[in-house]
């Protein structure tokens, strides 16, 4: 009996002791020197870094109070993002000793957004800086979560030149109401990967139109026994993104502006029909909705599939696996000689709920990390497309692209890109679009009926946003 009592006491003691985790921080973000195992900020000035930014003035601003900012970031590729960021931050803190940056890994993009929402709704202070999808723009503005960045750019000696240096496609989702809300960071694009060896063996040229694309896909579809080696794989379990370049190549993006959708535009409907025809008419890819985002790259790099529609983010993985020559190109368009692509990925946003001095420090960090050298370095180490033109002129990048010409092909595809779907009420309208385009892909509705219904429902869903 007394053993039980002892047991109880031990349990409770243990519970209390072990529950005292790391030092409790009362608020998510606080404007104090970093706690605990933070890197010391007062380390002696390091020798000049290899990757010292050239267009960021490394001027010690006198008598600045120390400030700590947090950066919530997602990881969407299998690169050592945390280690890479820590390296940049160490350099940054050499240049700006009064700013401490704490990177906070927060899951996938959706998890980061959930964490931000929860923090703000729970009365906490959001981190000064976050990396979220470029397309989250309107939701973030409407929720009053983010602050515009124009003042910072205006204060730069060469502000407009700085902005103009970003690939225009990556800036397509950064503006609203003539204000600048985000800066591109880890960006990608939808492209078509093609197996050059297979094309050569079949005596084919890379396609330049829908017709030659479909013909090539058909010609490269082969059957051995019961297995089919498809000419083309084109996943559609989260369809809007990979589909957008089809619509753009047809002559009309799926939306016009944040309040105007073009789901049932004849060109868009034609693009839906083309996707269906690739399987039904040409027999060049499997029928119906393909939940194959993760396996398409493997199918391509194992040499089973001749072409895939995918993100440039997969370049690193495919390079690592493919035993053949392959190329990256934008989707061929409907008319001969036209091409199309669409950007993707995440931008930096400055959170309005953070104290002003943290927001200012966050901008300093953005400026630092988007320097051509770091943009190039980040691209080389992660497989994302470098966000700035000047990044491609850096020696490191030139060395890299000499070795990996596909990285340049990825950039070049972006000259044919239009904006990724970023609109009011994004979640709901995107669901509507997915809902109906999948009905069309699965043959439950005709392309025209499906897109008409999608357009009607989307318009209704946009009424409260766009009155």
């Amino acid at each position: 009996m007394s053993t039980f009592k002892k047991y109880l006491i031990v349990i409770m003691l243990f519970a209390m002791l072990s529950a005292c985790g790391p030092a409790a921080t009362p608020e998510p973000v606080q404007n104090e020197p970093a706690p605990l195992e933070q890197k010391p900020t007062d380390k002696p000035a390091a020798p000049v870094e290899e990757v010292a930014p050239t267009d960021v003035p490394v001027v010690e601003e006198p008598a600045m109070d120390p400030v700590t900012i947090q950066v919530y970031y997602p990881v969407a590729v299998d690169a050592p993002i945390a280690a890479i960021l820590n390296g940049y931050i160490a350099d940054f803190q050499t240049a700006y000793p009064y700013i401490t940056v704490e990177p906070v890994f927060s899951g996938g993009y959706a998890d980061v957004q959930t964490a931000i929402q929860t923090t703000i709704e729970g009365g906490g202070t959001p981190p000064a800086l976050t990396v979220l999808l470029a397309t989250s723009l309107y939701d973030l503005i409407n929720a009053d979560y983010i602050a515009p960045m124009d003042q910072y750019v205006a204060a730069m000696p060469n502000g407009q030149a700085y902005l103009d240096d970003f690939l225009p496609a990556f800036m397509a989702n950064s503006y609203y109401d003539d204000q600048l809300w985000s800066i591109p960071f880890q960006r990608s694009a939808v492209v078509m990967y093609y197996n050059m060896d297979k094309f050569e063996a079949a005596g084919l040229q890379p396609p330049t139109s829908w017709a030659s694309w479909a013909d090539a896909a058909k010609a490269l579809t082969t059957t051995e026994g019961t297995t089919t080696n498809w000419g083309l794989k084109f996943s559609s379990d989260w369809p809007y993104w990979l589909f957008q370049p089809l619509a753009i190549g047809s002559g009309q993006n799926i939306f016009v502006d944040d309040c105007t959708m073009a789901f049932n535009d004849p060109d868009v409907v034609e693009a839906v029909q083309f996707y269906i025809d690739l399987s039904k008419v040409y027999g060049a890819m499997p029928e119906g909705v393909q939940a194959s985002w993760a396996t398409d790259t493997a199918d391509f790099s194992s040499g089973s599939v001749a072409m895939i529609a995918h993100t440039t983010g997969s370049l690193t993985g495919i390079l690592n696996q493919a035993q053949f020559n392959f190329g990256i190109m934008p989707y061929p368009g409907k008319a001969d000689g036209t091409f199309a692509s669409v950007p993707g990925g995440g931008n930096f946003y400055i959170m309005k709920g953070a104290p002003q001095e943290q927001q200012d420090a966050a901008w300093k960090f953005i400026e630092f990390i988007t320097s051509p050298e770091l943009a190039a370095d980040y691209s080389i180490n992660t497989g994302y497309i470098a966000s700035r033109f000047s990044a491609f002129d850096t020696p490191a990048m030139q060395e890299y692209t000499d070795e990996v010409p596909q990285a340049l092909q990825a950039r070049d595809a972006l000259q044919y890109a239009e904006a990724e779907l970023a609109i009011q009420n994004l979640g709901q309208v995107r669901s509507i679009f997915h809902n109906y385009i999948q009905k069309a892909f699965n043959g439950e509705m005709s392309a025209q009926d499906a897109m008409d219904a999608a357009q009607a429902e989307a318009e209704t869903a946009l009424v409260p946003f766009c009155q």
Binding site: M12, C20, P22, T25, P26, T114, A115, G303, T311, G317
Partner: protein, 283 residues
Amino acid sequence: MNEKAINGRLFNRVGAWLLTGLTAVIAIFWTIPVVWALVASFRPMSEPMKIGDVWFGSALTFANYERAWSLAPFGQYYINTIVIVVTILAVQLVTIVLGGFAFANYRFAGKKWIFFFILLQMMIPATALLAPNFATIRILGLYNTRLAIAIPYFGSAFGVFLMRQAFMDVPRDLVDAGTMDGCSWWQLIWHIYLPPSFPSLIAFSLSSITWHWNEFLWPLVITNSDAARPLTAGLVRFTQLGEIGAQWPLLSAATLIVIIPLLIIFLIFQRHFVESFLHTGIK
């Protein structure tokens, strides 16, 4: 009579073998996914899966484990997870035994209502909990601590329910005999109620450990430093690769790094699921 008995025994023997065979078949079938994941975790990343080639690659490699281990501070995470899980379980064992005992042994006004009130905990979806509980934790000053991850689970409706059911199955005569003998309330629990309910307590512990070991969204939201975060914060680095899609060898390696202790814990704990007829009869 004799012949019948012999036949019966033979039948039993054959039946037992058949049952064992059936168990083996089901067990093999059930483990295919995890066996595949185990094999895949040793497959070189440079060898894509393809038709007829989804198991072993050309060589066995630890590269995926090394890579997974290097992409997240699993060592620190391990400590945190263990602290969190043990804390939760220790407090829960106390609260659920007391709660289960109250509901099984006593009659009191509003008993049903209190019981249903507690059961609410099992029903509310996480979506509705995140923001309010974030606010509560913030007000309690626990943000970014391991305690913040653990404290919402200190009371367990699941456990109270399970222990109530288990205690109710204890023959009433035993309890009455104990009361007659002058057992105090905690002697009743310790000597009468707990011994036959021990398997249920084990089942609960397994469930609690597993559940909290694998919880990921709440810890990600309520902490922002590796000093407080659990193993799942490491695993999430491999499960949410939205840009490039699932990387099975890497994910399998990371998953196995995370769950191996759970498998061992289960193997140890399951030994307690042994028929214990002795307990019911004589006291």
